[in-house]
């Protein structure tokens, strides 16, 4: 167990910054808050505070990709309505009691972004070598016609490429017959817009241009969907996307029911929440590493 004493575990659950835990742990919790709530405000200094604690760039690449993956798990639990479960692993592994879980109101999303992203690969050392990287690069070259900066920027810890490859393939288009390609594109682009993902924004604009009729851009998608969406099904879906990106813990069974009442299937619901979860996982990762946008849109060649 990481925090075997129940009072320490409880203190961490209430406020990690005042809990009697190592400074490195506190620094990681602060970074996790940035990652989850306001990744677009990350800066090179956000990583430097971890380096001061002796963390290597390899470890940073590892943790950021773990956090990226954890985004999918938290969204899956929230969107799926998974109840507190005595069989859940995290509790028995880490704590004796499960009372540490709590809900805090999420901070309002700030619209300001950090302008310190420069025209560099990213803020982590990126060796771009080794068998795992070369395998991933070949896949990307075949899939996109180039190796994306996102792949290069995490090459210090290449263990996660199989996950990223599959995730990007799933983002290529809807995985259910009931979700139209245009609406899938709107879902992705809305997430990218709300996450202020400077890495994915050019790709989102190209995706909208390719799949969506009429005038649509990221500024419009940041607004309340009811201001610009007239189709009832699209309205239900995009309202859900906004809720999931901003306050996933507030999702209830009523949200899933709203899909059904609009004539959408559970498959559509699953396709939407997975698209949001996967896209947001990448947005947070790219924002926190300061990855510069690629010179071409990150869109699969066979979908062009």
């Amino acid at each position: 167990m990481i925090y075997p004493k129940a009072d320490v575990a409880r203190a961490v659950g209430e406020d990690p910054q005042t809990a009697p835990i190592p400074e490195l742990h506190k620094a990681m919790f602060r970074f996790a808050e940035l990652f989850v709530n306001r990744s677009w405000q990350a800066s090179p200094e956000s990583l430097d505070v971890m380096r001061v604690e002796g963390v290597s760039d390899r470890d940073l690449a590892d943790w950021l990709q773990i956090a990226c993956i954890q985004t999918w798990f938290t969204h899956s639990a929230d969107a799926g309505g998974i109840p507190m479960d005595r069989d859940a692993v995290s509790g028995p592994v880490m704590f004796r009691e499960r009372s540490f879980y709590h809900a805090q109101p999420a901070p309002e999303l700030a619209s300001t972004t950090n302008a310190s992203v420069t025209a560099t690969l990213g803020w982590l050392h990126a060796p771009c070598t080794g068998v795992q990287y070369e395998t991933a690069a070949r896949w990307a070259q075949n899939h996109y016609g180039f190796v994306p900066n996102l792949f290069k920027s995490v090459s210090a810890c290449p263990d996660f490429y199989p996950r990223h490859q599959l995730a990007l393939e799933l983002l290529d288009g809807p995985q259910s017959k009931s979700l139209p390609a245009a609406l899938h594109a709107l879902v992705r682009a809305t997430v990218i817009a709300l996450d202020h993902s400077s890495y994915f924004e050019p790709s989102a604009e190209s995706l909208l241009h390719r799949e969506v009729e009429g005038v649509m851009n990221l500024d419009i998608l940041r607004k309340d969907p009811s201001e610009h969406i007239r189709d009832q099904q699209s309205l239900v879906v995009l309202r859900f996307v906004h809720k999931m990106v901003k306050n996933a813990y507030k999702i209830t069974g009523d949200d899933a029911q709203s899909f059904r009442e609009a004539g959408l299937s559970d498959e559509t619901y699953i396709d939407v929440f997975n698209t949001v979860a996967i896209q947001q996982s990448f947005d947070r990762l790219a924002n926190c590493i300061g990855v510069a946008a690629d010179t071409k849109p990150l869109l699969a060649r066979n979908n062009a």
Binding site: I2, V12, L24, H25, M28, F29, A32, E33, F35, V36, E53, G54, V55, S56, R58, D59, W63, I66, A67, I69, Q70, T71, W72, T74, S76, A77, D78, G80, G81, I82, P83, M84, D85, D87, A88, V89, S90, P92, V93, M94, Y101, A103, A106, D159, P162, R163, L166, L170, Q175, A248, Y249, T252, G253, A256, Q257, D266, E267, I270, D271, N274
Partner: protein, 91 residues
């Protein structure tokens, strides 16, 4: 109760069943006793591609179920917990 239909292991297709068995095996090895696939994977079971994606994520996190990835200056599961904490994720 889950918000959507779940396909549990008893009713799973062969493809889904393989992923169920892998995930269950991975967590069973981690905790030292036989445990079923955790609930968090199940909401995607209606679309096998996404359920498989959940399994792939467990594979990369655990080095294909071996749970022998090199550990850095703090346990990697603390990263998982910190993200969940700040997501106010009840799970």
């Amino acid at each position: 109760m889950a918000y959507i239909e779940i396909i549990h292991e008893e009713a799973a297709s062969p493809e889904l069943k393989d992923d169920y068995e892998f995930i269950s095996g991975s967590y069973s090895k981690m905790v030292g006793v036989k445990v079923p696939t955790p609930q968090v994977y199940r909401p995607s079971s209606l679309i096998p591609a996404y359920f498989n994606f959940g399994a792939v994520q467990n594979r990369v996190l655990t080095n294909d179920g071996s749970h022998n990835r090199p550990m850095g200056p703090l346990p990697s599961i603390l990263v998982n917990f910190a993200v969940s904490l700040h997501s106010s994720c009840f799970y």
